[in-house]
């Protein structure tokens, strides 16, 4: 991040206003993750990897705000927010237990000008996600499919259990249909039991296999997203394996695991 690419620097933009989005569809991705497909009336185009702020209002005027990553591509009609239900989560619990198609929520965005990919950023793209950290990576992957399918991309995706794989069907389909995409799914707390998954943590052997599959080309852009521990471990491994510091962008979940977690963007 020493020399920021000019492409990621936004010019002084208009004020981000709150707008009312309508939930058109709710899809259960995993036992603890749901996708909320939201129509936003005055959405201006976002960049793959960005997030939005969501605001809920109680009858007495009390409000709660959280940030959530966008999983959809900028070209998609609806904005897909992927929300993991967390124990004690004030906002994630509400989304999971109450929100249904037809409901409205307030949104403001898009937000985040660093953890983003566009065709000008090129490739190969290395995506490394832990758990629901895969969400902004999926936006990048979908966007690349729309605007730059020739760009080589690899996704290293670490989950504790196989049934926690978000976007599983779509990822497996992309493996079959996209010759320039490779998926490295790794399951840490059980035997993988699937031909497209391996057992174990993200380790040096996995990273070197992924880098070797790029045919010797270093990744031009690397995106690492997940819990702090995951991002720390994964980015240290990447540095050890020779991935340049300046090419690595990270997003770490803010928040106590027992609370709502945002996908953060700012230094803290």
């Amino acid at each position: 991040m020493t020399e920021p690419a000019t492409s990621e620097v936004t010019q002084a933009s208009a004020r981000l206003v709150w707008q009312t989005g309508t939930v058109e569809q709710v899809v259960a991705d995993t036992p603890t993750v749901k996708s909320f497909f939201i129509r936003v009336p005055a959405w201006h185009r976002f960049r793959a990897g960005q997030h939005v702020d969501v605001r809920l209002t109680a009858p007495d005027g009390y409000q709660a705000e959280r940030s959530y990553s966008i999983g959809s591509a900028p070209e998609d009609d609806l904005v897909e927010l992927v929300i993991e239900k967390l124990a004690e989560g004030e906002v994630s619990g509400f989304f999971h237990d109450v929100v249904q198609a037809g409901d409205t929520v307030e949104l403001r965005g898009p937000i985040g000008g660093h953890f983003v990919w566009g065709p000008g950023d090129g490739g190969p793209i290395l995506l490394v996600g832990g758990g629901s950290g895969v969400v902004p990576l999926m936006s990048i992957l979908r966007h690349r499919m729309n605007v730059g399918p020739q760009v080589t991309a690899a996704l290293i995706y670490s989950v504790r259990h196989f049934d926690e794989v978000i976007f599983r069907d779509e990822l497996f389909r992309r493996v079959e249909t996209d010759p320039n995409f490779r998926l490295w799914l790794t399951v840490t707390r059980e035997t993988a039991g699937h031909s497209l998954a391996r057992s174990g943590r993200v380790d040096g052997a996995l990273v070197s296999a992924v880098l070797a599959a790029f045919g010797g080309a270093a990744p031009a852009c690397t995106y690492v997203c997940g819990s702090n521990a995951f991002v720390d471990t994964a980015s240290r491994l990447l540095l050890d394996m020779g991935v340049p510091f300046a090419s690595i962008k990270t997003e770490r979940y803010g928040g106590d695991p027992a609370r709502d977690t945002a996908v953060p963007v700012a230094e803290s």
Binding site: P4, F94, G113, I248, T250, G254, A266, E267
Partner: protein, 203 residues
């Protein structure tokens, strides 16, 4: 604003609610956020430099820096990603003490850009760095600041959103103009007052 169907939310005590800026929630842990990997900063290589524009005024090694007068503060901190943490305890060197050690009895310009080992930067007006409003913090809760929280040293400006409290800080630079830093160039507010909810450009 119309209520969100079915949303009641949780309430803090009135005392806690009064300490929480708009749009924030109270967080018990200390989340770690940063734009890139944690840089490896060896104390033997650590150097802090005060500059006026491009001109270095004085540099300190880790030992020299820690020999400056120490100050302790107790503060609430507020991250733009919405969490706030109450009652955090820090110790370090105030910016005024750094200036004094460099022989500056007045700020040469009204604006400061903080720089970090990883290339990060953030701008803060000097008036927000005076007294005990700000410091270069080297300990958190009585322990040396860990790398993931910005150690060996980070800027601490707790009355502004926490992205202004640059991790892995290695220098302060006085600038003639208020120069936007890393996040300020990427859509975040030039000043960042949590009580005015100045999160993004134009807020």
């Amino acid at each position: 604003m119309l209520p969100t169907r079915g949303f009641l939310g949780r309430r803090l005590s009135p005392e806690d609610a009064a300490r929480l800026p708009p749009g924030q929630y109270k967080e018990a842990g200390f989340p770690v956020l940063s734009a890139g990997p944690t840089p490896r900063v060896d104390l033997a290589d650590w150097k802090f430099t005060l500059k006026i524009g491009p001109r270095p005024v004085k540099s300190w090694t880790w030992d020299q820096f820690n020999a400056l007068p120490q100050t302790k503060v107790h503060r609430d901190i507020h991250c733009v990603t919405k969490w706030s943490k109450f009652d955090t305890n820090w110790a370090g060197i105030t910016v005024e003490a750094i200036l004094a050690d460099a022989g500056l009895d007045a700020p040469p310009t009204p604006y400061v850009l903080a720089h970090s080992f990883d290339g990060y930067s953030t701008n803060v007006p000097y008036k927000d760095l005076t007294g005990e409003q700000a410091m270069v913090a080297t300990t958190y809760e009585g322990y040396p600041l860990t790398g993931d929280h910005g150690g060996p040293a980070r800027l601490l400006v707790p009355h502004l959103y926490f992205w202004k409290s640059a991790k892995w800080v290695n220098g302060l630079q006085f600038t003639d103009r208020d120069e936007p830093g890393f996040w300020e160039l990427r859509g975040y507010h030039i000043y960042g007052d949590p009580w005015k909810e100045q999160r993004f450009t134009g807020d």
